[in-house]
């Protein structure tokens, strides 16, 4: 039997990021469907909206905010 807390977590809607991961505007300030393409890596920190250091390698990428550290892909 799985952890009941996991079941609860799955049922809850995801918490929206305070800032757009692509344009860095506050949530609601952009249309995320048009401010990035399907194959764009994130370019802004979802916590503070700062531009982030993105290192793209053939098999993936890392994104790091100066303030909030490495972001989850």
């Amino acid at each position: 039997m799985g952890n009941p807390l996991d079941v609860v977590a799955e049922a809850m809607p995801p918490v929206p990021d305070p800032f757009c991961r692509w344009c860095g505007r506050p949530a609601g300030g952009c249309d995320q469907s048009t401010c990035h393409g399907a194959l764009d890596a994130p370019m802004a920190c979802p916590t503070c909206g700062r531009r982030i250091r993105v290192v793209v390698i053939p098999t993936g990428y890392t994104a790091t905010c100066k303030e909030h550290g490495q972001l989850d892909p």
């Binding site: 764009d40 993105v54 793209v56 390698i57 053939p58």
Partner: protein
């Protein structure tokens, strides 16, 4: 399909396949004007030409932006130019460990080539020293051929990079000479041409790519094929514009998929012996026709992600090659 169109294709096939002679630009111009319903036939000829001139192997390469953004040049398509307000954060030259990790990941995908790309006008002495440290390290530790893309070179720099083990140097013409001033104003097409010559003069293979979809005309694409013939590249990466936010070309429409296939085929027919590589923008431009590009003259691809944008997964590309029974191999130009 008219009789005249069929004759045109048949004559091109005879010239390229039986006589092994390149087509003149007038013939390419006529082929560029074939109706849409003949594009699959054009593509089929290009595939035959690729097999006859280059063989069945497909070369797989990984690329890495080792120094991103902050470029002083104003290439209007590029999100790494410091002249435009783009979301790209400039980052310094990556650490050696980061470069080696990317090369190792590339090798795991079955690639034979790894290209280290730097966003700059040309390398300063510090950059040259870093490159000359990295290139032998990647070769020895990972076993890949190493390509470099570091902008405009002097003769001395080209010589040092060649002696330092750079297998292939990338320097794109991007577009036709007559259209170039619309796209770049901080350096000239001639400066690019000169670097291309230096690369070859110093014994490196020249990788000289193009970017289609920036507003150039059909005639300018034909002009570009002629100019590529002049610089004699071993490899031509074929990029399609993927408009980047904040750049002057941000609002340009994508090339339509079938039109992209037409031009893949025409580049193969115009440059029958080169390594013609699928590069940036193919996913968004070709969509479901990516596999068709592989049978339209392409014989190499950049696998996985690009410099600042993501590609489709390497597994999808490798599966595509497997499904097509196209063997992966290292390629050199067939003269």
């Amino acid at each position: 399909m008219s009789a005249a169109h069929r004759t045109l294709l048949a004559e091109a096939a005879t010239q390229l396949l039986d006589e092994r002679l390149p087509l003149d630009l007038d013939t390419l111009r006529a082929l560029a004007a074939l109706p849409d319903d003949m594009v699959p036939s054009l593509a089929a000829l290009a595939h035959e030409v690729r097999l006859a001139w280059c063989g069945p192997e497909v070369e797989v390469e990984g690329i890495l932006s080792a120094k991103t953004g902050g470029c002083p040049e104003d290439c209007h398509f590029c999100s790494q130019s410091s002249k435009f307000e783009t979301p790209i954060l400039a980052t310094a030259f990556l650490d050696t460990d980061e470069v080696l990790r990317a090369a190792e990941e590339t090798a795991r995908l079955g690639a034979s080539e790894f290209c280290i790309v730097l966003a700059l006008r040309g390398p300063d002495e510090r950059t040259m020293k870093r490159l000359l440290e990295l290139v032998p390290l990647v070769r020895e530790k990972v076993g890949l051929n190493v390509a470099v893309s570091a902008g405009i070179l002097t003769d001395d720099q080209a010589q040092r990079l060649a002696e330092g083990g750079v297998h292939r140097y990338n320097h794109n013409l991007e577009t036709a000479r007559s259209f170039f001033p619309e796209i770049v104003t901080t350096h000239t097409w001639e400066e690019r041409y000169d670097t291309c010559q230096l690369v070859r003069d110093n014994g490196m293979e020249l990788c000289c790519g193009v970017l289609l979809g920036m507003g150039e005309t059909v005639e300018q694409r034909i002009e570009l094929i002629g100019q590529l013939r002049d610089v004699e590249p071993a490899e031509v990466p074929l990029n399609f514009l993927n408009p980047r936010p904040g750049t002057p070309l941000a609002d340009r429409a994508l090339i339509e998929p079938l039109e992209a296939i037409r031009w893949i085929a025409l580049f193969r027919l115009g440059l029958p012996s080169v390594i013609l590589r699928y590069a940036g923008g193919r996913e968004v431009t070709l969509r479901e026709l990516q596999i068709m590009g592989m049978t339209s003259g392409i014989n190499a691809l950049i696998v996985g992600n690009y410099l600042t944008t993501l590609g489709r997964s390497a597994d999808e590309d490798l599966q595509m090659l497997d499904d097509l029974r196209m063997p992966i191999g290292a390629l050199s130009k067939v003269i």
